[in-house]
């Protein structure tokens, strides 16, 4: 996506949503859905659209774990770290995932394929451990099933 189409996308989203009550989160979701992240240079446009300061917009983006200001990999693995998953061995799974991908949390693989983010509960606690990739949720994830999923998604294993 070129710089000008990015700006256009951001402007369209702001124009569509700015008259909602409490419009900032819907706008940020809209931008992240469209672009995969919220480019820092979109902050002035958002601030102007909502009559806020840039600091206020930046403050909101940085408060919420889900919003990111850098592009993610092609797939983002959200691995659950919460108690239910821990009770079913997620600490060992976490170690496996980090080794397999060669990255830590909040990092992206060098080939740009995968980002890794922790998540605190996916509501899938009846089938722990759990992870989410895009809108897909996976339950009873083991080291083996994780490897299979990565292979299906086109990782160079």
């Amino acid at each position: 996506m070129t710089a000008s189409t990015t700006t256009e996308t951001v402007q369209t989203i702001i124009a569509e949503l700015k008259d909602k009550q409490g419009a900032l989160l819907p706008i940020l979701h809209g931008i992240q859905n469209a672009l995969g992240y919220i480019p820092p240079d979109s902050v002035p446009a958002i601030a102007q659209g909502l009559n806020l300061s840039r600091a206020e917009v930046h403050g909101v983006i940085s408060f919420y774990h889900y919003f990111r200001d850098t592009p993610a990999g092609k797939h983002t693995v959200h691995l659950c770290r919460a108690e239910s998953c821990q009770s079913m061995g997620s600490n060992a799974l976490e170690a496996h995932v980090k080794t397999k991908l060669g990255i830590d949390y909040h990092e992206t693989t060098a080939d740009g394929q995968f980002s890794l983010e922790p998540v605190y509960c996916l509501g899938n606690c009846a089938c722990s451990p759990a992870m989410q990739i895009g809108e897909e949720i996976y339950g009873r994830v083991s080291a083996d099933s994780f490897d299979d999923i990565m292979n299906d998604l086109g990782a160079d294993a």
Binding site: Q21, Q86, I137
Partner: protein, 513 residues
């Protein structure tokens, strides 16, 4: 004539292969020339049997589970379309003891109906509560809810009727209904199951709340981690608008109620009601001081009802059958039913809706069938990450808000996470501090700084650096968090920490009690 087959579209069922099973059923049926009407229902909540396949034979539903996609051809060979025998055959779900022993009021339709079919909802007693509400005065609606004894199912257990009454009696041009669907507690998934499995019941409950207190705008604040619930809610809301169950003239009454889903963005603290309202207003999710109560000055400074998903989804049955009907379930001051969630290291995880009063032990062993790993259950954490770890010696506590509070434990949202004897409770205490540090909104000092100091103190205890002294320090720090925090995040992090320390001192390198 086509055969109706139900395969759950619940995200947990999907997470263990329900979509692949459904695709295999469709493909196999096509190859064999069998006409099939596939319905993606909510989950019955018996997750060890998911993916569950139910076939309608002579108007009865015959279940098979757990059905992997590789089992599907064998099921067709066994003529499961006509209820044929197969090793995965379960008979009727209603006769499985785990299900049969339950008392499903709030979850009455979940797993039975097509979640986004309004016709199905109406055919299964849907919108009867709203019909009664439209024929009642505002005060009478609030009275039914008060009489039912319903208390906030999000965890705080505040009487719902009293909250509604305050909003009703606070004059304002504009009032709001907020559904707190930021179900962030580990081990809880009942909100998600309702939103995916019976979204209309939540919409109906919110509409009734709006009529009761005079609010014409509702927001469902949904966590972003629930994409399936998001789709189901939006689909159901669109249908409710089409059929005038939402909008400017609800069922010709002249009453107005609009409803919109708003997404959170991964902040646990936004499950706290004032932080949630800040987030809805488009701000950082900083907790507000109370007073003023949200019921008097809430969203955009207006009187606001903030209720949990299960609280609101319990309102239609109360308005349909009366407050007395609901109140007759339960014990003591805990009235009605609680949808419990069995999670973590249990053989039979799932959703158990039952009247208050059963013991934790019955829940863990009669329903949960003990640990999944086959090892002894060392502790269970009830009520999410801010709930205490309950040791085996307290398993005979009845599931009741007051009985739990008397043990310095928390029933909360009814989530139960079991741990076997391989878990180290000092590590869990450290994690509780770490979680608090990650999720703290930063407004109050005890939570913001205390949680990070807590991690350091726990590290020293685990690594045997001045252990005895640091245990004293940890207790003092917990005292500060308990008494000095602005909200439950800092205020309740000591529950898991101190319960782990008190009940499992050997895991902290101390002498056993």
């Amino acid at each position: 004539m086509s055969t109706t087959i139900y395969i759950s579209g619940d995200s947990t069922a999907i997470s263990i292969g329900a979509n692949r099973t459904a695709a295999a059923v469709v493909k196999e049926a096509a190859q064999r020339g069998i006409a099939v009407n596939l319905v993606r229902n909510g989950s019955r909540g018996l997750f060890w049997l998911e993916p569950l396949v139910e076939v309608v034979v002579n108007n009865d539903r015959v279940a098979y589970g757990a059905v992997n996609h590789s089992d599907v051809a064998g099921l067709f060979d066994a003529d499961f379309i006509n209820g044929g025998h197969h090793s995965l055959a379960l008979g009727a779900v209603e006769e499985i003891p785990y299900f049969k022993k339950q008392q499903r009021l709030t979850f009455a339709r979940v797993g039975i109906t097509d979640p986004i079919s309004l016709d199905d909802y109406l055919a299964h007693d849907g919108y009867r509560g709203l019909k009664n509400a439209l024929a009642s005065s505002q005060a009478d609606i609030v009275k039914q809810v008060t009489d039912s004894g319903l208390r906030g199912r999000g965890g705080a257990a505040f009487p719902t009727g009293i909250k509604w009454n305050t909003v009703l009696n606070t004059p304002s041009e504009q009032k709001y209904i907020i559904c707190n669907a930021d179900e962030g507690d580990s081990g809880t998934f009942s909100d998600r199951m309702i939103m995916e499995g019976d979204p209309f019941v939540l919409i109906e409950g919110m509409t009734i709340a709006g009529l009761a207190v005079g609010a014409n705008q509702g927001f469902i604040y949904l966590r972003v981690e629930y994409p399936h619930a998001h789709k189901a809610l939006n689909a159901a809301i669109a249908k409710a608008y089409e059929a005038s169950y939402l909008g400017d003239n609800i069922q010709g009454s002249g009453k107005k109620f609009d409803l919109e889903v708003r997404l959170g963005a991964g902040a646990y603290v936004c499950g706290e009601e004032t932080s949630l309202m800040e987030s809805l207003e488009g701000k950082r999710g900083l907790v507000r001081f109370k007073p003023p109560l949200p019921a008097i000055s809430g969203l955009f400074g207006q009187p606001t009802v903030v209720n949990n998903v299960i609280s609101l989804a319990s309102v239609p049955v109360i308005l349909d059958k009366g407050g007395d009907y609901y109140r007759d379930f339960g014990m003591g001051r805990s009235r009605g039913t609680l949808p419990l969630q069995l999670a973590g290291n249990l053989k039979h995880t799932g959703l158990v809706e039952i009247a208050f009063g059963m013991t934790l032990r019955e829940l863990l062993y009669d329903f949960g069938c003990g640990s999944a790993t086959g090892r002894p259950i060392k502790a269970v954490q009830v009520g999410g990450p801010l709930g205490a770890f309950v040791p085996e010696s307290q398993f005979d506590t009845p599931l009741d808000y007051e009985a739990f509070a008397a043990n310095w434990t928390v029933l909360g949202h009814g989530g139960v996470v079991a741990f076997d004897d391989t878990m180290n409770m000092a590590e869990m205490a450290r994690y509780a501090m770490e979680f608090c540090a990650i999720e703290s909104c930063g407004k109050c000092t005890p939570c913001r700084i205390g949680s990070t100091r807590g991690i350091e103190v726990m590290d020293d205890i685990i690594n045997n650096v001045d252990r005895e002294k640091n245990v004293v320090l940890l207790r003092s720090l917990c005292d500060t968090l308990l008494n000095g925090s602005l909200c439950a995040l800092g205020g309740m992090t000591p529950y898991p920490v101190l319960s782990a320390l008190n009940h499992f001192p050997e895991d902290f390198g101390l002498d056993a009690v």
